[in-house]
Symmetry: C2
Subunit: 595 residues, 2 copies
């Protein structure tokens, strides 16, 4: 690191009392500029931190004169001597707070024009402006910390995986539609006019082929692509830690995954997350938390009430039960003071999930009940409900009667919202849960057919194989998802490695032989040539980093993210292109139809 | 690693004499099957190697019976006891050659249908078939070695870079045209109809922005994309080890690059490549080797003869000199026996580079000269030529008179071809050379304007800055390329970090302010806010692996490469897509015009 005669000796943030009396050379940016009694003090910042540098006219008047022209975010290099700060000016909050550097040589590499926003932490800036001037936004200490930690996390994961005998193998970005079922990004081919590559939604099929090829343990930290309408925690391109192993069962993949996560959390957060993590079945997760990615940092569990109210006089509940629906309750412990407005807001929340209303009971002193619905229940029913819900004075009880899907989704969302309102979700805990025993299929109401809950290459449990055709609903998958604080951070499965089972699976999904051949023919073919049993998993790296760094958005752990409309504010991508380029690619832009 | 009760204890290739009498569990593929006197011997193979397993009917008749049904490439698991091989059957060429495993338990995971080609080394298979059944091709030991070594190489590079304080930062794949000037792959945007992302030809602008953001040392091992007509050593997607550093000069980047290469070669080939590597100026490389990527494993250097023949009676040469051209010779040492046909082939070769012919002189015993041109020269000229070329009896001298470009290109190619014919290029040497002092510009004959020899962000040498407008031809760049055995494996430069210089550079290239703004506005803007001096480099990882593994094609170091037409034979990508998908993307396929 040298510019002419200046050879860097330290990062700014690394100067210490040990260096006192040493000559140092530092490069960095002017963060603060103060004049105290004719002496100029500057906080010089680089990626490792800040150090105070001093321009004293009694040391060198010319340099002091030059320093008086420095302004915020000028990029400079200095040579000087480290000294102890004068008594009373030591800053114990700063790693370099004991020392300062008296400058003897100054070089200004670049000046800085008027900034669009101050490059300082905690100044609120509109996100679109942050993204447009991302190079300034990324100069902020917490963004630098995020990207540095991301790099350390990836390296920790790689170290662990290599120590376990994994081989990193790159799979293609210009490829064919993969089986995840989301919308593909397409790339027109110039050399094959009218044909398109697809960007991979995951390396799924390639990594399975690598197992067929005998690589035994594959991993890759790689970009995946989905052209979906973007939600807060989605990006059109995202990064997965992707792995696959041969000759394994569920426990092998789970153990390796726990090892990766332990390495990352140790490196980034300095904590032991102590695997093995708890496991919960899909059905138990739905019953207790109304979600297949349960946030188990807090209770507020759902309770089944169907059996208590199946013969009730309350027609709304009884009708639901008669139609095969279910009735569940949730005790919002100590929430009796929720206002009418708060309850209305919660009712609005659950309506998003299809709930037609939200019944409630307030439990007052001496178990006096306040509720619009209590009058419909028998004493026996009321007693049963209160007992099942552990109701005590001060509690607010919620009820939902509907199809299982609506009940789980709406009470699951209600539970999370109440958890947030009660501040049960903002502690320091990292709560990992494996969700296992997923159904292999789920029913697609719209298309009136069974769909793969994960993907069509997921292996059924051996004991359920015989029901693949006769009773798909009871077939469980050899799949496992890993959740952290209620966020799904990864998932995987043991795959089908027998071509006969793979064919039955396609059939059960209503995929014709021809369609299977066109889409996945090469995989079906590969399974004929001595495919090993294998399984794997993918972790969502962006999400993991968001959670570990306690950021609100994955955009804060990605150097150059896109907006929710898929736009890069910095480069203005996507952009218009020349007609000539489109001609070469044998495509043209379709004029939007007017409605 | 467990399937039911079978928990792997060893990789096949890892069983040793130390393991004798131990119970082992192995998983792998049947590589060879032999019946010797009723006992079945199988070579069981996994990614780490081969071990002999034995099915002896006197040990277990039932298992012996099952083993008799095993065929090539069946995937199996076995449990058994390790024993010393009987005397006389030890195989010292095999790491496991002292031992064999007597099988007590056998599980067949998958059978294997008739193979499209034998999964054995050294059986020649047409490359298209290899690529179609890539999962079988990748089972071959040398392909497994290639990919395993590639993984180790990448990890070694990362280890080195992290040890040097580099931070890995991911840059976008869905982005905007970058300044390399090759053809972009485009990705139509669904959310912004009529607009397109481009896949990056390199992370050039993003890594410069990361320097502006203060990350100091960035690296990434990442895919880059160029939609070019593919040559033998090109792929539409390829992998770069990409880096950028702040507050550096040429020597800093060169030193880090040498460190990366040393780490890789130590890890993969087990050798010390002993940096620092030699450096040669662009002009010297052209003068001596006719190439800016000189293969310096052998001599056969070009020699300038212009001064000797400038007044010759040989009109062909004199005319060239009078028009500003040059005359060079090359001594093909000891090649006097080249036949007429061989010389004709060489003449054809140089004609590719625009040469109108290839003059030659054979130096026979007693310096008797045989040549179609010797009669045109004076004795003084002949003496000068022979002396300059160190001609001795037995030599074949070649001559070229033309524009510098044609002379360098054609004699450079001639030199390489003669080197190959003389077996000077197939040793074990790894010969690294830095080429430095490149011109900043090169003249584009077709478009009648100056172009950037590297890219428009390359910094001119400070001492040449004043000639940027007045004499572009004399301006040297702060650029450096690294070549290995005559192949360019990487290149980089110190960048322009001052917005005023960047503007002058665009102007010198005939890029209007408006065009610069549209294409690179964000970079020009970024340089206004305290940009540090910075520079970097990118290494072509596929090419490095090809050279280190002594493969002929980069396709042999890439798991799933494409053909020269950009087709993936395995998945059949690129492929046709549904009209619905095109509709969503607001594009349509343009019917090819009939000529």
């Amino acid at each position: 690191m040298a510019i002419g005669s200046l050879k860097r000796t330290h990062y700014c943030g690394d100067v210490r009392a040990d260096d006192i009396d040493k000559e140092v050379v530092l490069f960095g940016w002017v963060q603060n500029w103060r004049d105290h009694g004719g002496v100029i003090f500057i906080d010089l910042k680089d990626r490792e931190g800040i150090v105070q540098i001093v321009f004293d006219p009694s040391v060198d008047e010319k340099i002091h004169q030059e320093a008086s022209k420095l302004r915020s975010q000028y990029c400079i290099g200095v040579k000087g001597k480290v000294r102890h700060r004068p008594e009373g000016t030591v800053n114990p909050n700063l790693k370099t707070g004991e020392v300062e550097v008296v400058v003897e040589k100054l070089e200004v590499f670049s000046e800085c024009e008027n900034l669009p926003f101050p490059v300082e932490e905690y100044v609120h800036v509109n996100e679109e402006v942050r993204l447009k001037y991302r190079y300034l936004d990324l100069r902020k200490p917490h963004m630098q910390r995020n990207l540095i930690m991301r790099s350390k996390a990836a390296f920790a994961a790689r170290n662990y995986l290599h120590s376990q005998g994994f081989i990193e193998i790159e799979t293609p970005i210009l490829t064919k539609s993969t089986p995840e079922g989301a919308r593909d990004f397409l790339v027109p081919s110039r050399l094959s006019p009218g044909r398109f590559y697809a960007l991979p939604q995951s390396p799924q099929l390639f990594k399975q082929l690598l197992m067929v090829s005998g690589y035994d343990k594959y991993y890759q930290i790689t970009k995946c692509f989905r052209d979906e309408d973007l939600r807060a925690d989605r990006q059109p391109e995202f990064t997965q830690i992707d792995l696959e192993m041969s000759f394994v069962e569920e426990d092998d993949v789970i153990e390796v995954t726990e090892g990766i996560l332990a390495s990352i959390f140790k490196e980034v957060a300095g904590i032991d997350i102590n695997p093995p993590f708890k496991r919960i079945s899909y059905q138990e997760a739905m019953d207790r938390f109304g979600s297949d990615k349960p946030d188990m940092r807090f209770g507020l569990e759902l309770k089944k009430l169907t059996d208590i109210v199946e013969n009730t006089n309350f027609k709304v509940f009884r009708d639901v039960v008669e139609k095969g629906g279910i009735v569940y309750g949730l005790n919002a412990k100590g929430c009796i003071d929720f206002t009418r407005k708060e309850i209305d807001d919660l009712t609005k929340l659950v309506s998003i999930y299809g709930a037609k209303g939200l019944a409630w009971i307030k439990v007052k002193a001496n178990y006096e009940l306040q509720s619009p619905i209590v009058k419909f229940f028998s004493k026996e029913e009321i007693d049963g409900i209160l007992k099942r819900l552990d109701a005590e004075p001060g509690d607010l009880l919620f009820f939902m009667a509907d199809t299982p899907k609506v009940v789980y989704d709406s009470l699951g969302a209600l539970r999370l919202e109440i958890g947030r309102k009660l501040n049960l979700t903002n502690g320091d805990e990292f709560n990992f849960v494996w969700v296992v025993d997923f159904p292999l299929f789920e029913w697609n109401e719209d298309e009136n057919r069974w769909e793969a809950m994960h993907h069509p290459f997921t292996s059924p449990k051996p004991e359920d194989l015989e029901y693949l055709e006769s009773d798909p609903a009871r077939v469980k998958a050899r799949a496992y998802d890993i959740t952290l604080n209620g966020v799904e951070i990864g998932g995987g499965s043991i795959r089908i490695h027998r071509s006969d089972v793979q064919k039955r699976m396609f059939k059960a999904l209503g995929i014709s032989d021809e369609e299977a051949q066109v889409k996945f023919g090469f995989l079906i073919e590969a399974l004929k040539y001595g495919a090993p049993p294998h399984g794997g998993l993918a972790l969502g790296f962006d999400r993991i980093m968001t959670l570990i760094l306690k950021e609100k958005s994955i955009r804060d752990v990605i150097a150059f993210p896109k907006t929710q409309k898929g736009v890069c504010m910095l480069t203005d991508a996507p952009s218009e292109v020349d007609e000539k380029q489109l001609n070469e690619l044998s495509i043209r832009v379709r004029k939007p139809k007017k409605d």
